[in-house]
Subunit: 408 residues, 4 copies
């Protein structure tokens, strides 16, 4: 790969805490003010990923304010870090976003492409990408969705079945097509890679998955695996391997950023809880009777999220034991580097000619998308192994399953 290649990263929700942290972080890295700590693929060399300094950021937001102002509000960067990148971030302003208050209630929109038809919105997104590529002299672009969580939709409805039915629904301004789907469609139809880092329904619509296979657009999602669910998929395999039966897993989260505020809308929250729930039962191989996940908007922490988990297990002789976890983490600090790595790996997939769901990227997601209806791997160590194998070899047919547990 030529070292002067440039990759554009177009982010839906550019003014959010995760996006501004990613943008600021890459700028601080370029200036040598931080090291590559926290970037999972920093020491993967020679396998074709673009360098970090090849990345150029742009994107959409409902709030029309420059990124320096946004970053200041999110209060993720230290005072010194913010000061160092302010001149750069002040020059960056998001493009007008597509939005739909029926899909995400608690966020008031100020810039939205409101009065327009779905087709016009799609067209505007595609033009934004074209202009971005031209203005910034980019070789390629990827799109990453970081916007606030939308409400759930029924994926079995007929307009979501095929690319053709979806496009007819677009023409008809179908009320079930939310903003995240518009961005996904706009990227995929042009073969542009698309990652969904949120629980919203985006590329995970049968129609769009079929379209991606057709256009060769790599897609990945959904819902970034950063804190509590990451730990769940790290611990649960060990509990299974030691045959400790999980009687209950009580997970509670307190968080105070814009994300948490959006989750105060029960519809968005349910969508989030759904993507959080599946991993545990899948890893353990049985339904945990009392698996409870609570998310609570709690302002004193700002972007500093806290998770408290209590796990009740029974072991040998049916005797009960307890494990408790308390994770004092920073949402954007954990998420931003994953966004960067997703952009780099999806771009690699496209250059390798791999379209559709890139299931080797499952380690980045709470609810990994699966290729061709194959069962999804949730266990973190296995996902990491899959990622590393894919990086070194490319997509490989799944002929030999991991010998995790042998039965009869």
């Amino acid at each position: 790969m030529a070292s002067n290649e440039r990759l554009g990263v177009a982010i839906v929700g550019l003014g959010g805490a995760v996006a501004t942290t990613a943008v600021a972080g890459m700028e601080l890295l370029r200036r040598g003010r931080v090291d590559t700590r926290g970037l999972p693929l920093a020491d993967v060399k020679g396998l074709g990923l673009v360098e970090y300094d090849a990345l150029t950021f742009g994107g959409w937001d409902l709030f029309d304010e420059d990124l320096a102002k946004a970053a200041r509000n999110h209060a993720v960067l230290t005072e010194a870090q913010l000061a160092a990148v302010t001149p750069t971030l002040e020059r960056m302003r998001p493009w007008a976003a597509a939005s739909n208050p029926r899909f995400c209630k608690n966020i008031v929109d100020t810039t939205a492409k409101k009065a327009r038809s779905l087709r016009e919105q799609v067209q505007a997104i595609r033009e934004d990408l074209t202009r971005f590529k031209k203005d910034e002299k980019l070789d390629r672009v990827v799109v990453v969705n970081l916007a606030s969580t939308e409400k759930s939709v029924d994926l079995t409805r007929p307009q979501f079945a095929t690319p053709e039915s979806f496009e007819k629904a677009l023409d008809a301004n179908d009320a079930d097509i939310g903003p995240a789907m518009l961005y996904a469609y706009a990227a995929i139809v042009d073969g542009v890679p698309f990652a969904n880092f949120t629980p919203s329904v985006a590329a995970d619509v049968p129609a769009l998955l079929a379209l991606a296979r057709r256009t060769g657009a790599p897609v990945a999602g959904k819902d970034g695996k950063t804190g509590q669910t990451l730990l769940k998929t790290v611990l649960a395999p060990a509990l299974r391997d030691r045959a400790l039966h999980v009687d209950g897993w009580y997970s509670t989260n307190i968080l105070g950023n814009r994300d948490g505020e959006a989750l105060n809308d029960p519809a968005s929250k349910q969508n989030k809880l759904d993507t959080k729930g599946a991993a545990l039962d899948s890893i353990l191989g049985y339904k945990v009777q009392d698996h409870i996940v609570q998310i609570q908007y709690y302002r004193p922490r700002g972007d500093n999220k806290e998770a408290w988990d209590n796990i009740d297990v029974t072991g040998f002789l049916g005797q009960p034991m307890q494990l408790k976890l308390n994770f004092l983490c920073k949402d954007s600090i954990l998420a931003a580097p994953l966004v960067v790595e997703l952009a780099r790996t999806l771009d690699l997939a496209r250059r390798r000619g791999e379209g559709g769901v890139i299931d080797a990227l499952g380690c980045f997601f709470k609810a990994p998308m699966s290729r061709d209806g194959q069962p999804v791997e949730h266990a973190m160590a296995e996902q990491q192994r899959n990622l590393m194998t894919w990086l070194s070899k490319g997509r490989v047919p799944r002929t030999e399953p991991a010998p995790e547990r042998i039965r009869g």
Copy 2:
């Protein structure tokens, strides 16, 4: 494998909490009063492991009391469980043990083969095994060391170099040969599998490893991985995979059983701390600056151990985060099923003709022994994968390393 085969499990420290829990547990399982919960290999079928009801227990202890009395003191079983097995356990009495107050101070011995030479002690152990096999009509025997932790010894001393030098030292009643080595030698010399579930120096002496290769005795060790270290080897790989740098890991343990009392001897404690320390740096690939492990004898808990871990990491942009774990566990409930599985897997190894260190059993140990000086795998998920591969295929040459992290 014929279903009427009988495997003897001879335990050093038969009257201890772990051993009595294993013995009682197998009896309760036989009677259908408990299920196989907590037994890691319960659902591995058809690969040659003897059934649980093929196991017969015997062994040595410094305390000459029947197992029912011992189990009552340990207070691990529920009142109802204890009542159910009391008649069986009352008939079981440990054999007189080898001991050496220079190696383990805090335990006063009442039955020890005291006044005898090392050679006489070895001879007595071998005779115990022969009698056990004959009296109980056993097909085969394995030996598992569960005795209290002994002090450390210098393994580079010349008497530990070869089987021949070791045997000369035995003849000379060498002061550096502790009881655990005697048991290991007595088993290995006759080709009997030997597992060391404690931090004591036992089969991990160059002389005894060479002897095991010669006699075909499978060996495994050392120091059972049950609670805090298990979680460490589960979490650390994920921190590494997410490039979260571990600045400090503070681990503190409170426990109130006989094990904890023995650890009040600083020499024994140091030995324990040593086996606990290595895993973290090995998994992360760098030395953690502030890795601190504390063990505190604390009576209110009895056999109920508690671990509290605080982990300080820095992530993207050098920002700090914290993870805390609190594990309220039961030492013997976690350890006893591992002892059972070790007996079954070591027996399988011998029947397959595999002698020396069985490194596929690393998932059971805090400080896994390595075959032929190969690097040791500490990450739990990789160890589990190795175990499952070994169970289904037998020992395989390590031609293709796991693609965990690719460099240049």
Copy 3:
């Protein structure tokens, strides 16, 4: 006080976990199988409280099963403790209870005094008490409400204003009069002491408070202060005294007993949350912006409740700190001895001729009732001091307020 006096304790909810634990506990104490641990006033001597062995228990329940069976289901006692008291408890059966599904949804009633008018229900309760006193040869009786939480009612409605309006409403079968009020009325009208250990509306109706002053019935309530709220009223005064500003207090509870199940009805839950909320702001002297209390029914624990609290404070120079509490407690083990002490202290109040709200008993309650509209003390240490002063001196006029904080 003559040592042969006998005090009857009539409990609403006699088959519940708290009540059966109290009954069994007093029986175990009488037999010398347990000591007075956990009984707050065990070492208060010579001030007129009846002895523990003067207490005789009876009461009502919706479930018609003997107390041995009930206690076995609650699984609070150890196997040995249960065995010791089974013969006694088997002979005890609750009386048919008053109930109203509109007030407490999740509990299905099997014995209720259903088809009857409110007046008939009151009459039945009074007759139960008369029969109890006669059959058991009791000198005096007190009534304690331990029934499941009812929904809230609007206390400003005119029928709750005076004894007269309340009695008219009784005659008219008023839909706003719940079962707890019926028990309170039935006790108070006869001058019998009444304690409300639940969040339900009972004696805390203006009409019933006026009646209690008239008949001289001592009353106390409401909602027993056992776990999380106890700690809140212990810690908050210290945070105030050190001028640490509480920015947020997140309290979450997991519990799996019948109480937790009843709280799955949102109306009952709200009532509970209301009584839990007031103490903190009252102690601190300002409204805590993010004070959040969550209660979650979680079966793996049974009667073993767990509370996790996270407190965010800012101190000197506006710098943030955090305090976290994790209380692994047993609901009935904490509550039962308080019920016993309430019976003894209310009985003492009556013998001293003190009627109406006994505010010196505030330390036993989450939402203490106040006498004559006086401000309520929530700080635990002050409440304890008030109790001890009252025990030694009787009710004293509040001439000199505690010099806790002096303002200009």
Copy 4:
């Protein structure tokens, strides 16, 4: 009190984290950049305490660096706070300190009044105070000891018995007289108030207490009660009042500041542990069998201390419960405001003519000094009540003890 009075606060250990935080904090308060949060007596008005802006700081340190540099190293202030006070702090430089490597090993001294006799050192301290008063035009001075913990000494030795024997020992350069005693003597002999915020032996020598009564110097100590011990003295009274028996209390601390480094010297550590241990048994009225306190130097936290406490209690029916506390606090943020309040209250005591131990200040200390051999109150709520009573009334004879628990 005239509003233009000026009080000098001479601190032993002026360059330490606590002292620089106090100095910077008072400067930030003066400029209106912070409010009085964290200052326990901020809202006590009209009782004679000097205002915060009446305070002027000076003092001694072994390290000869200006306070701005010291504060930067301690990293307690935010970047913005540090910037605001840097010009002021840069002009402040500690005076040369008395030190003795036999008393505090791990701190290397650079400025110490080394080569001099004890008498010369005392003389130098007194001259420092005189010069401070004159140069800064102060009305009065108080001395507060914040220096690193010294080793313990045997207070029953004859030279510590009377002022006369102490002075003879001074003349003889007695090896048992440590630096903290020198400062205490130098202050007390001139009637200057002296507070000991460390565990070192200072004014708590019979000879110096007698001298203080003679000269009228108010004294207070010892060892500031900021974090874990504060919580202990808040919680233990509630456990006692609920008759919950404490079977074990395991307290572990991790801290990474200069204080923690000094405590790596076992002699200093023991002294610290001694002052931490007494409070619990005193409050509960019995000896806690497993009361364990661990202090661990752990660098990742810097000045941010963390305490984890596990408390095992048994309650009604002998049933066990657990309470765990996790306090993520900031040592200097908690300690600095107490130092400020000690200066103000000791100054008030002197103006009121109260000399010797001011026991009403016990709430500020882990090991409160007692007046005339009276028993010491450790319970925080009682201490706070004593402080408030004293502030409003002055020293009152203890005629009527608090009715906390009545026996026979």
